[in-house]
């Protein structure tokens, strides 16, 4: 399977205010390297503070990695260049659904925005109906505002917005972490179906191993800014790294 995204030796540091007027450089990511093959769903697991969110922002092109030998390449091109040349082909669904939609926009306006940014003019109602249907939402939610919808519904609207431009690649940044467990399962199943139907690639960032194992083909473990394990999801039991193994052991099973 060809590589869609190659992350090579990425480093990122932030300045942290230190004592005596000396700012310390905190290295959040140190030499991160892995690949995301086209058509796969790759899970990125790490606890808070591991650097997941920073890595996500770098992949989305919202920030630049430290200067050095590292680079993030999408089909051979540097991230920002690829995004400029392929507007709408990369999308994202965030964790915090309360700030994912402009509170002054209706569902219709939210879904129209990315399509309009791509240049579509005229009446987009037909396309919006198709999108809402794909994420199993009722069509009369079109004129509602975000605060009138439940968490699961808002997240589905965010997913509909993310797929509205027929992207090749979606970053799911803890997209289900804020939802109830029962709703999580439904949303994961929806994401799986959409990926197969629309032939997309996912990067699923999460801290819940069971959710990642449910959705992803390959799992990458991130610990304190470094990749410590890269394993296929059916091969989880054969993880070698100590941290990965302790994470696997900490999962609380549910059995009846």
């Amino acid at each position: 399977m060809p590589n869609l995204i190659e992350i090579k030796n990425i480093g990122k540091s932030y300045l942290k205010a230190g004592r005596n007027f000396r700012d310390t450089k905190v290295k959040v990511l140190k030499g991160v390297t892995f690949t995301i093959e086209e058509g796969l769903c790759v899970g990125l697991i790490g606890e808070s503070g591991s650097g997941k969110s920073t890595l996500t922002r770098l992949i989305l092109g919202l920030e630049k990695p430290d200067k050095g030998n590292g680079a993030i390449l999408i089909k051979g091109l540097p991230v920002r260049q690829w995004i400029k040349a392929n507007q709408g082909k990369m999308s994202v669904v965030f964790q915090d659904y309360t700030s994912s939609i402009n509170p002054q926009y209706t569902v219709r306006e939210t879904l129209e925005e990315p399509m309009r940014a791509m240049g579509h003019k005229g009446n987009l109602d037909g396309k919006i109906d198709v999108l809402l249907d794909k994420v199993s939402l009722s069509l009369d939610l079109k004129d509602r505002y975000a605060h009138e919808l439940s968490g699961g519904q808002v997240q589905r609207v965010c997913i509909a917005r993310a797929i509205s431009t027929n992207p090749k690649f979606i970053v799911l940044d803890e997209a289900i972490s804020s939802l109830d467990v029962s709703v999580q399962t439904q949303v994961l199943n929806l994401l799986h179906k959409l990926r197969l139907d629309m032939k997309m690639t996912y990067l699923f960032v999460a801290h819940d191993l069971q959710a990642v194992a449910h959705l992803c083909n390959k799992i990458v473990f991130l610990y304190r800014g470094e990749v410590v394990e890269e394993v296929m999801s059916w091969d989880l039991a054969n993880a070698q790294n100590e941290y990965a193994k302790s994470l696997l052991a900490s999962v609380i099973p549910f059995e009846v």
Partner: protein, 277 residues
């Protein structure tokens, strides 16, 4: 075994629009047992616990009875005035809230905040409080408790803060601890640590526990009885093991099935590893 806490027909009404939020919920908590309250967001789990303790907003009115037994008989929590309730909240029932990060004042050190709780509620002096805090942290197996005392809340992870909360509750030696979604904001490793903490708590002190969560796995791990809530109503209530094995209500079945589906792939992968080992 008699009931430590018996809640009968608890109703909560929003006085602003006369809407009933909690519709007549009843349950019991026996000594040394753990009751798990499960349900999705908006089911009224936290509201029920807060109504019991008089911690709801002023425009909500609670009706029904919540009888807490003491040496002299029973005390209806819903009929008590604020000062009695405050004493009960400090000494007999402790509540652990969901977001540990915001439960602590970011401007004060952990040690002083924990001591403050003890000084306020037990009326002891500062040095006694400090040794109590250290003992409490040691009881929850906190590494380097002396160091933790000197740190601020932003310097500790969510898991460690939650364990400090548990330690504070433990040291108060209450009859009941109410934990409201204590593991929801945590990642897997920290979740496991906190859950094990609660298990230890039950074994060592025999404190009764009311554990509120939307994660069935965690509740199954800890609870003896389980109460399933939806939209402010009690949907199912019974012994945990039998309820999870043979759910009576459709909704409980749905919750269980969703949770099982989520762990299916993971269990399969781990079993495959175990088989090939």
């Amino acid at each position: 075994m008699s009931n430590l806490l018996a809640v009968r027909n608890l109703k909560v009404t929003d006085l602003r629009n006369q809407a009933e939020i909690i519709h007549g919920v009843s349950f019991e908590l026996k000594k040394n047992s753990c009751l798990g309250i499960v349900g999705e967001s908006g089911s009224g789990k936290s509201m029920t616990a807060k109504a019991m303790l008089g911690l709801t907003n002023p425009w909500l009115r609670s009706q029904g009875t919540a009888e807490l037994s003491n040496e002299h008989g029973v005390l209806d929590l819903l009929q008590q005035d604020e000062s009695t309730l405050r004493a009960i909240r400090g000494q007999r029932i402790c509540m652990i809230l969901q977001d540990a990060m915001s439960a602590f004042d970011p401007l004060a050190k952990i040690g002083s905040q924990m001591s403050e709780t003890f000084i306020e509620n037990k009326g002891i002096c500062r040095s006694e409080a400090r040794s109590m805090v250290l003992a409490a942290l040691q009881m929850v197996n906190m590494p380097e408790p002396e160091q933790v005392l000197k740190k601020y809340s932003h310097q500790l992870s969510g898991g460690m803060l939650q364990r400090c909360m548990v330690a504070t509750a433990l040291a108060m030696k209450p009859d009941i601890i109410v934990a409201d979604e204590p593991t929801t904001a945590l990642d897997s490793i920290n979740q496991r640590l906190v859950v094990e903490e609660f298990k230890l708590l039950r074994q060592e002190t025999g404190t009764a526990l009311i554990f509120i969560s939307h994660d069935l796995g965690v509740v199954q791990h800890l609870a003896d009885q389980v109460l399933v809530m939806r939209s402010g109503e009690r949907v199912e209530y019974g012994e945990a093991r039998s309820t999870f094995k043979n759910p009576q209500h459709e909704y409980t079945k749905y919750l269980i099935d969703s949770r099982l589906e989520m762990s299916k792939s993971f269990q399969k992968a781990m079993k495959r590893g175990a088989a090939s080992a």
